[in-house]
Assembly symmetry: C2
Homo-oligomer: 206 residues x 2
């Protein structure tokens, strides 16, 4: 498999974590987002959204959208599962992942922050508000789940989305007011699958 990504993309990091948790490997092809590499014609032919990550499967199919790629990896390599439990538990895990992947990250990604700057707005304050709103809700959604991970004794898709977003949260200088989320992050970062896949360990890191 080939993973098209970028060292500092939190969406690409999600996929790197799932690959590592499942003991899978993919060749990494970096696209420099700040230089517009994801808008190059060759990459747009692969992913018309001009976003990373994209995963090219062993038989050449191109998969986009990090959560869809994570679900694909879960289906081709079910163990260890990142979506354990019954249908309701799996729905709660997916919902926690979507709080990050739908309601936080896309509203504070590079493209949207650039648009806000072009409108003369304070993009950093915008990002902090989006993250703080989302994480306040996520902290409440996880209030009654067992630890040490977001949903119990092993990491799930919720942890996979949480940890990269916590890194963004620090980058934007948010007030870290989520004891449960921070405890989950600390637990995850004990694992190589989370720690060694972080931005700063990627070959294209600056």
């Amino acid at each position: 498999m080939i993973l098209h990504g970028y060292w500092r993309s939190s969406a690409a990091w999600r996929v790197r974590i799932v690959l590592a948790l499942k003991g899978l490997t993919a060749d990494q092809v970096p696209h420099h987002l700040r230089d517009g590499g994801q808008r190059a014609p060759g990459y747009l032919a692969l992913n018309p959204q001009g976003l990373v990550p994209a995963l090219v499967t062993d038989d050449g199919q191109v998969l986009t959208q990090s959560l869809a790629i994570c679900e694909y990896l879960e289906e081709i390599a079910p163990e260890p599962s990142i979506l354990p439990g019954d249908a309701a538990m799996r729905a709660r895990i997916r919902a926690a992942a979507l709080v990050v992947a739908a309601d936080i990250h896309p509203i504070q990604n590079l493209k949207i922050l650039r648009r806000l700057r072009d409108l003369g707005q304070d993009d950093q304050a915008w990002a902090r508000q989006v993250i703080e709103d989302g994480f306040d809700a996520l902290e409440a959604l996880l209030a009654d789940t067992p630890g040490p991970f977001a949903f119990g004794a092993a990491p799930t898709l919720a942890d996979v989305c949480l940890v990269p977003q916590m890194a963004n949260t620090r980058r934007f200088g948010c007030d870290l007011r989520w004891p449960r989320l921070q405890a989950i992050e600390a637990e995850c970062l004990k694992l190589d699958a989370f720690r060694l896949t972080a931005a700063e360990h990627q070959p294209d890191a600056e």
Copy 2:
């Protein structure tokens, strides 16, 4: 089951479509989003995000995030499937759904548009740009899939997300420049599961 929603929420409409496709029913409890009903303490206790939809299962569990709810319904009632095919096809369907549910809708929902208006920005122009960017990419992503639906002969999670977003698209006065997406929408709206679940047919419609 109880579905907490709002007639004009495109995310709630997704869930109404999946319930109808699978022949399931849920009692509907409306929350008036423009009046802030979703921020009432009682509802926030149910969904700390203060968003609709939320689904309360028969055994009282509260599920949030429309895509997580749709996946739950797919798991408890697998036929007819909204995620057919092999792992790669399911990933492509989920990716198309996420283009709408992660990269379009959350960036042009009521909450974000209000924030932009408060900043003195043209929220309608913002919404049009977000939708047009996303739909241009979605039209390209679906260029090689068989019709008449987004992924062949029957509606999938991709169609479930597309049709409600097309209604938003008209509401914001976008230039309708996506022949494939419009053909898919027309095909879907031949089905009661899409047509009768539309905003204007809901009990709380104004």
